[in-house]
């Protein structure tokens, strides 16, 4: 078990965003976490990365308790997050953004990795001297993913990678995620685009208002009417 989350609770101000969440991710698995807006998915990812305070519960990563570990140490352990809304360093160049991904890899030679990223996302190579803020939404999403991968992570947390992207691009992003999975990357994917996410995932969790309401194999969830209902109010 690479990641174990037990009874996780978290507050945003006075709003309880997580009300006791249990989730596990095995090594090499792609797990999709779906649910409507405000269900607490992003909060969950933020608490995994250590940038959101936890009020109860525990997180274990590769057997180690990381519940109270500061964010930067978790990056060193191999947890990388692609945050919601991309969050690229807008005024910095594409290259510098990628470089920031290696911040915790002391002694690493970033050049090779960077070449690999450019192979995966050729558009980034063409724009590598440009300010990240000038890229389109899809390009920024790719940059954010590449930046996270530069840290050589063991667990990749993806938060709404398809948000606000045109259908063609959404397809491209999901293709990239599938390729990463094929390379053996462990991924926890948060998506609103439920069917597409579950389509590529091994397992899935459905979240509603801070709680996990369903969890099963992705294919099973895909056929469940309650998933549909959660989205369309049917």
């Amino acid at each position: 078990m690479l990641l174990e989350i037990q009874g996780l609770e978290s507050h945003y101000g006075r709003v309880k965003a997580l009300k006791g969440v249990d989730i596990t991710v095995k090594s090499g698995e792609l797990v999709a976490l779906v649910g409507a807006n405000g269900a607490g998915k992003t909060t969950l990812l933020r608490s995994l990365s250590g940038v959101q305070s936890i009020s109860a519960g525990a997180i274990r990563f590769d057997g180690q308790d990381i519940t109270k570990m500061p964010a930067f140490k978790r990056v060193s352990l191999g947890i990388a997050q692609v945050p919601e809304g991309r969050q690229v360093f807008a005024p910095m160049s594409v290259e510098d953004n990628l470089l920031m991904g290696t911040y915790r890899r002391r002694g690493a030679k970033p050049a090779d990795d960077m070449e690999r990223m450019y192979e995966t996302f050729p558009i980034l190579k063409a724009k590598r001297k440009q300010a990240a803020g000038l890229l389109s939404g899809g390009q920024q999403q790719m940059l954010a993913m590449a930046r996270a991968l530069m840290s050589n992570p063991r667990l990749l947390l993806l938060d709404e990678p398809s948000m606000g992207l045109a259908p063609l691009l959404v397809g491209e992003i999901f293709n990239a995620v599938e390729r990463l999975k094929a390379q053996g990357m462990t991924i926890l994917l948060v998506e609103q685009n439920a069917f597409q996410a579950l389509g590529i995932a091994d397992r899935g969790y459905v979240m509603e208002t801070g709680l996990v309401t369903m969890s099963d194999d992705a294919q099973v969830l895909l056929g469940d009417d309650r998933v549909k209902a959660a989205y369309l109010g049917l």
């Binding site: 101000g13 006075r14 709003v15 409507a36 807006n37 405000g38 000038l134 389109s136 939404g137 709404e160 398809s162 948000m163 606000g164 992207l165 045109a166 959404v170 609103q192 685009n193 439920a194 069917f195 597409q196 996410a197 389509g199 208002t209 895909l222 549909k228 989205y231 369309l232 109010g233 049917l234």
Partner: protein, 253 residues
Amino acid sequence: MSLLKVTNLTKSFGGVSAIRDLSFSIEAGTIHSIIGPNGAGKTTLFNLITGVYTPSSGSVRFNDREIGGVEPHKLAALGMNRTFQNLQIFHNMSAVENVMVGAHLHLQKGLLSSLLRLPSLARSEDQTRDHCWELMDFVGLAQYRDAEASAMSYGALKRLEIARALAAKPKLLLLDEPAAGLNDTETREVDEVIKRIAAQGITVVLVEHDMKMVMGISDHILVLDYGAKLAEGTPAEIRSNPDVIAAYLGNVG
């Protein structure tokens, strides 16, 4: 005549269009919902209607008056008011004072009478307070009459914002995700409040993700995707529209 008429509205940020050539209209006395996946441009549209953003092109007419780019405080005077997804509560004040701020437009605001608290002002203040208490009761906040805003729960604050907007006596009330972050019971309560507001003849426009709520209370629904209109119609029409289902759930496989 439509209360609100949007024609060929476009808004771009640095070359990227967030709203593209959008046209629709809202009839007085209805509950109108705007839905769409995350990032579809709903909030941008809201901000364009309420004067936070200025349109790049196209027009927004309210009560047959062009309001594109008109400052928010002037819109309020025209009869448009709104609530926020990220609450804009005055945490430095009590609950009822928050609502009283909403009544600002209709109050006596002379400097001298304020400084000296002249009897007429004191009377007007007492009346306003009573009226705002009634509004709090109306939205279901009766138990918070004497509370400080900073001590109220999230769900209560959402309703407090509605009460504040009502205090301004709007013709058109825009609600930005009134159910977000609420549990089922709270959502149903807000549901009730919205229906009661509409029953008073106030036109309500809401942006909302909670489909149960949207389908339950709307007279008319507008679906946005990628900044453009994807569909429009009654809840029944929207529910069976294949484009809408695809946009929401994603294409399988």
